[in-house]
Amino acid sequence: MDFDFSSLFAFILFGLTIGVVYGIVALGISLIYSGLDIVHFAHGEIYMFGAFFGLVFSEQVGVPYPLALLSAMICAGVLGIVIERVFYRRLTRAGGGYTVAGMGMIICGFGMSVVLQNIAFLIWGADAEPFHVDLGEPYQFGDISLPKSYALTAVMALFLMAALHFFLVRTKLGLAVRAVAHNKDIAFLMGINVPLMISLIFGLACALAAAAGTLIGPMQSVQVEMGYLMLMKAFAAAVVGGFGSLPGAIVGGLLVGIFENLGAAYISPSHKDIYAFLLLILVLMIKPSGLFGVEARVKA
């Protein structure tokens, strides 16, 4: 393929617009990890559920798109809180013993993703559902056309990140969340309602995933299987940025987006989904803590 800068610019732009979506999902994963010390393997399915919620509100209930986005976020947030309260809390509280603590959580998350995926399958079937949001003609940058939906996604994503940042840094509730993320025992001693905060963290993370799903739905259509690949990429993004680091998740998402688009454009398009994983391995080899992560200290 001939090389020219206009194409390169286009590919980077494509990478950025999809990367921002990876970033939002990764943000949720990072939030859960820093708050609860668990890796949420069912987050891809929450993203899928979010997309379906958005679809239902937009196409079947018939509310305007922005309202559908908000409703989907709320629904997914509630779903997340229910899952956390009913299933995960039991495991995190149980503690002790290798089977229960680490591995149990991962297996439970894995099982949960199968459960959620199949519930969605029973409700909505396996076929992709069209999600029509007509925003008008794409933007034109010279030879490159950028559909408005992608532009909107990028704007929305940036807005969500800013909102989350504002919430965490500027509000009292956000401070409490950060305290819980930092150290649950101390937060408890300071009189913070730790279980409530954990639910809040989980709900927030799931709402973010739903936002991503609703934003990307119109561009890629909504399907039960969509969660798994998104999970892989969002994990890669979270690890690349530094697990548990919120700005890192965004930067990681953008990097993964650009990396896989350039790889697909210049190396081989059929290996596209592998590039995210390659980036993940590369980062783990060179700097296991990720770009923004802090080296964890072993306590003997």
Partner: protein
């Protein structure tokens, strides 16, 4: 629990007596008892159950290997199907393109999977818990994608017509005949896993699982043992893969190695009992049979499997094997208390 006792107790007693004769005696006896199984199954039921027995054997090899790295060494890998796929594809390729007999391609498949295990293991030994799970999850899927898009590895058509093994004119071309091969490999696999795990190596694995730092301080080279566990499990996966590839009808396709297969393996290990040597065996048998019996409810099957995984982890984290272990521990515990009544420090 008591029903389980009734099943387990006479069995353990018999094994105890036999072991006194020779340590291999119980193994040989079980092997000889299992050899004519195809005739029993096809006589009692039909050939389909022989096929199921073959599937179970392959799953047992996979879960026993997975249990070593996961249950014993405590490393959460989700990329086991990737290694399984590597074993299958490499053995198939060697026999398809180089015309090598099974007896050459099989060890090559196992070795290639082992080497892949080393390549994966080297970065993985530095990773802990969640990171390892993520990295291996990506690995499994990457292997599948590589197979799916590379024409040499079968791509979307799959590898067709992988030759069946043959020894001195005896061709393992039916499910009954292939069973002999599989049961032999499975028995050897289980026996070797016992040999490894009931030795200093197995104890080192368990120590790493329980407490990495304490293990290291007590003289265990943690990275080396983690790598070893990885490679051993990769060898098991490779063997299972190669056996799967050559099983009639000799066809492999990348969609045999998806995340769903990994979930099934996980369920088998969790149900049988993580860190219990027989766990994978029990899990593989039960899950395969339940899967078969619920085939007609295919809409709800994955949901059922996912849900049982979640519920097992929540309420029975050590699976069936754990319950059996617990029974023995309780017995010994009571025994110890009764034997020593004057009170310990």
């Amino acid at each position: 629990m008591t029903v389980a006792t009734a099943i387990v107790r006479p069995f353990t007693q018999a094994v105890g007596k036999l072991s006194a004769v020779h340590r291999l005696a119980p193994w040989l006896l079980v092997y000889l008892l299992l050899l004519p199984l195809p005739y029993v199954l096809s006589g009692l039921f039909n050939d389909y159950y022989v096929y199921l027995a073959n599937r179970i054997c392959i799953f047992i090899l996979l879960t026993v290997g997975l249990n070593i790295v996961k249950g014993f060494c405590g490393q959460v890998t989700i990329g086991h199907v990737g290694l399984y796929a590597i074993g299958a594809v490499s053995s198939a390729l060697v026999s398809l393109h180089l015309g090598a007999p099974f007896w050459v391609s099989f060890p090559i498949g196992v070795l290639v999977a082992g080497v892949a295990g080393i390549i994966v293991g080297l970065p993985s030994v530095r990773l802990e818990g969640a990171y390892l799970a993520l990295a291996t999850l990506g690995l499994g899927e990457s292997v599948r994608i590589m197979i799916a898009v590379t024409p040499l590895f079968g791509s979307s058509t799959g590898l067709i017509g992988i030759p069946t093994p043959e020894i001195g004119g005896f061709v393992f071309d039916s499910f009954e005949r292939y069973y002999y091969l599989l049961i032999t490999a499975t028995m050897i696999g289980i026996y070797l896993s016992f040999s490894i795990l009931r030795s200093a190596t197995g104890r080192a694995f368990m120590a790493i699982r329980e407490d990495t730092i304490a293990a290291s301080v007590h003289g265990i080279n943690v990275p080396q043992y983690k790598l070893l566990a990885f490679v051993i499990s990769a060898l098991y996966a490779g063997a299972a893969g190669a056996l799967f590839a050559h099983m009639p009808p000799g066809y492999i396709h990348h969609n045999n190695f998806t995340i769903i297969e990994m979930v099934t393996l996980l369920l088998m290990v969790v149900l049988g009992g993580i860190g219990h040597i027989w766990g994978g065996v029990i899990g593989a048998i039960i899950v395969t049979i339940i899967y078969d019996q619920t085939l007609e409810f295919y809409f709800y099957q994955p949901l059922l499997f996912g849900l049982s995984m979640v519920i097992l982890v929540m309420f029975m984290p050590r699976g069936i094997g754990g319950v059996i272990d617990r029974y023995f521990v309780t017995r010994r515990f009571i025994g110890a208390r009764e034997g020593k009544t004057d009170g310990a420090p």
